[in-house]
Symmetry: C2
Subunit: 335 residues, 2 copies
C-alpha cells in the first residue's frame, strides 16, 4: 500500500505538506503542489479512509436507517433511498444503508462510522428519537414524530395531503368518500404519515359535511378485495375514493370494476403515491405525488446545513399537489 509518506518522499517534502496540499487547509506553493500531484499520480496514491477518519474525526459517510417493516412498500422506501443516496453523493458523502432495526443506531452511530444520520419510517412516538437526541449527531428524520426533540424533520405534509384529496373530491360535489389507507399494522405502530393522512382526510370531510370512512387496507390482492367489499357494504353510495396504498391500488381498481363500479365513470379516484406508480396504473390515475427523490435530496441538504453551519433543528413539510389524470370527476347525480 502506498502511503502519504511514500508520496512525501518522492515529492521531497514532509508528509504534513502532502496532507495540507490534499486538504487545502494551509497554503502550498504552486511548485510544491505540482511535485506532490505528480508523485501522487506516479505512485497511484489513495488516501486511506479509516486513517483519515481516525485522525480527523470525520468519515464523510452518512448513515441511512431504512427499516423494511411489514406493511411498508419496499419500492416506496427504496425510492427515498435512491433520493438520499443521489443527494449525498452529490454533496461528497457516501451512504451506509442499514435496514435492520435493533441495536443498529448505537452500533453505527456510536462507533463513529458515520458523521450524520437520516432516519426513515418514523413513528409518532418513535423510540429512536430520544436515542438520536442523546447521541448528538446531526440527524434528519424523514417523517414527523409527535415530539421531534430538536431533530430536523422533512416529509410530505400528509395532513394537508389528506385534506387536499378530500377537498378535491368534495369540491367536485362528492358527498360520500372513503380512504383506503395503510395496512392495520402500520396504523397500530402509529406510523406518523399514516396517522396524519387519516386525520387530514377525516377533518376535511367533516369540515365539508361529507360522509366518510377510513379502511385500513392490506397490500395484496385479497387485501384490496376485502377493503372493497367492506367499502361497498359500509358506504354503499360511495362516489369517490382516496387510495393511499401503492400495492393495493391496481387491485382496488379492478375489484371495483369487477363489481360493476368503474373508475372514473361510477367512482372518482385519487391516489397518494409516487408518480411512477400513478402512471403505471391503467388508466393512469389522478394523484398526489409522494416526491421521494425530492425529499431524499432535501434531507441531505438539511443535513449538510447542520454539519457545516450548525443549523438548528427544523421541520420542513412539502406542500402536496394534485396532478389531474382524469380519474376524478363530478358524481353522477351532481353531473
Amino acid at each position: 500500500m502506498v502511503t502519504i509518506d511514500d508520496v512525501a518522499k518522492r515529492a521531497g517534502v514532509a508528509p504534513s505538506t502532502v496532507s495540507y496540499a490534499l486538504s487545502g487547509k494551509r497554503p502550498i506553493s504552486g511548485e510544491t503542489r505540482e511535485r506532490i500531484e505528480k508523485a501522487i499520480a506516479d505512485l497511484g496514491y489513495r488516501q486511506h479512509a479509516s486513517a483519515r477518519a481516525l485522525a480527523s474525526q470525520r468519515t464523510d459517510v452518512i448513515g441511512l436507517m431504512a427499516p423494511l417493516r411489514v406493511g411498508v412498500d419496499v419500492n416506496v422506501i427504496m425510492q427515498f433511498v435512491a433520493g438520499v443516496v443521489a443527494g449525498a453523493n452529490a454533496s461528497g458523502y457516501d451512504v451506509l444503508l442499514v435496514t435492520q432495526e435493533d441495536g443498529v443506531l448505537d452500533r453505527v452511530v456510536g462507533s463513529s462510522m458515520v458523521d450524520a444520520v437520516v432516519v426513515m419510517d418514523v413513528e409518532a412516538a418513535d423510540p429512536r428519537i430520544p436515542q438520536l437526541s442523546a447521541l448528538g449527531r446531526p440527524t434528519v428524520l424523514i417523517g414527523l414524530p409527535a415530539e421531534p426533540q430538536g431533530l430536523s424533520c422533512i416529509d410530505l405534509d400528509f395532513a394537508r395531503a389528506g385534506a387536499l384529496a378530500a377537498r378535491h373530491l368534495t369540491g367536485l360535489g362528492h358527498r360520500s368518500i372513503a380512504l383506503l389507507g395503510s395496512p392495520a399494522e402500520v396504523m397500530e405502530r402509529h406510523t406518523s404519515y399514516a396517522e396524519r393522512m387519516n386525520r387530514g382526510f377525516t377533518d376535511a370531510c367533516e369540515g365539508a359535511g361529507a360522509q366518510h370512512l377510513v379502511i385500513p387496507t392490506n397490500p395484496s390482492v385479497s387485501g384490496a378485495e376485502e377493503a372493497v367489499e367492506r367499502l361497498l357494504a359500509e358506504l354503499p353510495d360511495v362516489t369517490a375514493l382516496v387510495v393511499h396504498n401503492e400495492v393495493a391500488l391496481p387491485h382496488v381498481i379492478s375489484a371495483l370494476r369487477a363489481r360493476g363500479r368503474s373508475v372514473p365513470e361510477d367512482l372518482s379516484l385519487v391516489a397518494l403515491c409516487p408518480e411512477n406508480t400513478a402512471l403505471a396504473q391503467v388508466p393512469p390515475v389522478t394523484s398526489i405525488d409522494l416526491p421521494a427523490e425530492t425529499i431524499g435530496r432535501a434531507a441531505i441538504d438539511m443535513l449538510t446545513a447542520i454539519i457545516d453551519e450548525g443549523a438548528p433543528g427544523e421541520v420542513r413539510l412539502i406542500a402536496p399537489q394534485v396532478v389531474e389524470r382524469g380519474t376524478t370527476r363530478a358524481p353522477r347525480s351532481a353531473g
Copy 2:
C-alpha cells in the same frame, strides 16, 4: 469519547486484554472477562470503527455499486439492493451504497473503505471488470459479463429464461411469438441480461420453428403503445407475447386490450419480472420470477466465502421457473 484505555483502566487490565476479550482472538479468564464486560457496560464503551479498521485492515463494510442508469427500473435495482443489504447485515457486514458511476470504484475500494464489492448492472464488456480484477478485492458481480476474468458472478440464467418463456409458449402450440424487451439504450450498452434474454428467446423460437420478433420497448406509456403498434404491424398474427420490461408491462396489456386483443383470450402473455410486479398486474400475469432478494443474499454468501475462505471465482446462474397465473393458454386456432 470513552476509549479502550478507559475500559482497561476501570477493569484493571491492559488495553490489549480488553481488545482480546472483545475479539476472542486469545483466551481470557472468566473473571477478567466479566470485569471487562462490566466496565464496558458501566462506561458505555463503543469501539471506534475507524480505529479498528486502521489497525486491523478490515472495515466489515461491503460496497454496493448500483448505478441508476437510464432505462433500468429503479424499483428492480432497489429490490436487489434490499436483498444485498439484508444478506450483508445478517452476515455482520454493513453496506455502503453507491449509485454514481465515474471514479467511484477507485475511490471507495482504493481508499479501503470497504472489504469487498458487489457490482450491479454489468455490461457484456464492462470497463469496471479489469479495474476490479486489478484492485484485487473480493468481488461479486450481479450479472454476467463476457469475460468474468476470475470474478464471481451471480444472476438469473437469462438465456434459459428467454428459452423457457419461448418454449412454454411453443409448447402450448403458439407459432408466432414476440418479445417486448429492454429499451434500446439498454441494448446499446450491451447490458448483459438483456442480450442473454434475447438470445435465449430467439434461439428457442428458431429451434421450435416459430415465427419470432424482438421489440425493444421504452419504459413508458408511449413506449408500450409504440411497441404494440409495431408488434401488430410486423407480426399481425402474433398469438403470444413475452414481456421483459416492468414499467411497460401494464401499458402493453392495456394497449393490446384497446386494440381488441385481450389477454389471455386473444394473446398469451408471460412476463419476466419480480414477483410483486407480476402480482400487481390486473390480472396477475404468468411470469418467470426475477428473484432479486434471493440473488442479493446469494451474492453476499459468495462474497463471505471469498473473504473468509479465499474461495475462487465462481459463476452461479439461477435456474428460471415459470409460475403459471393464467395468462397463457393454447392459441385459438390450436384450441
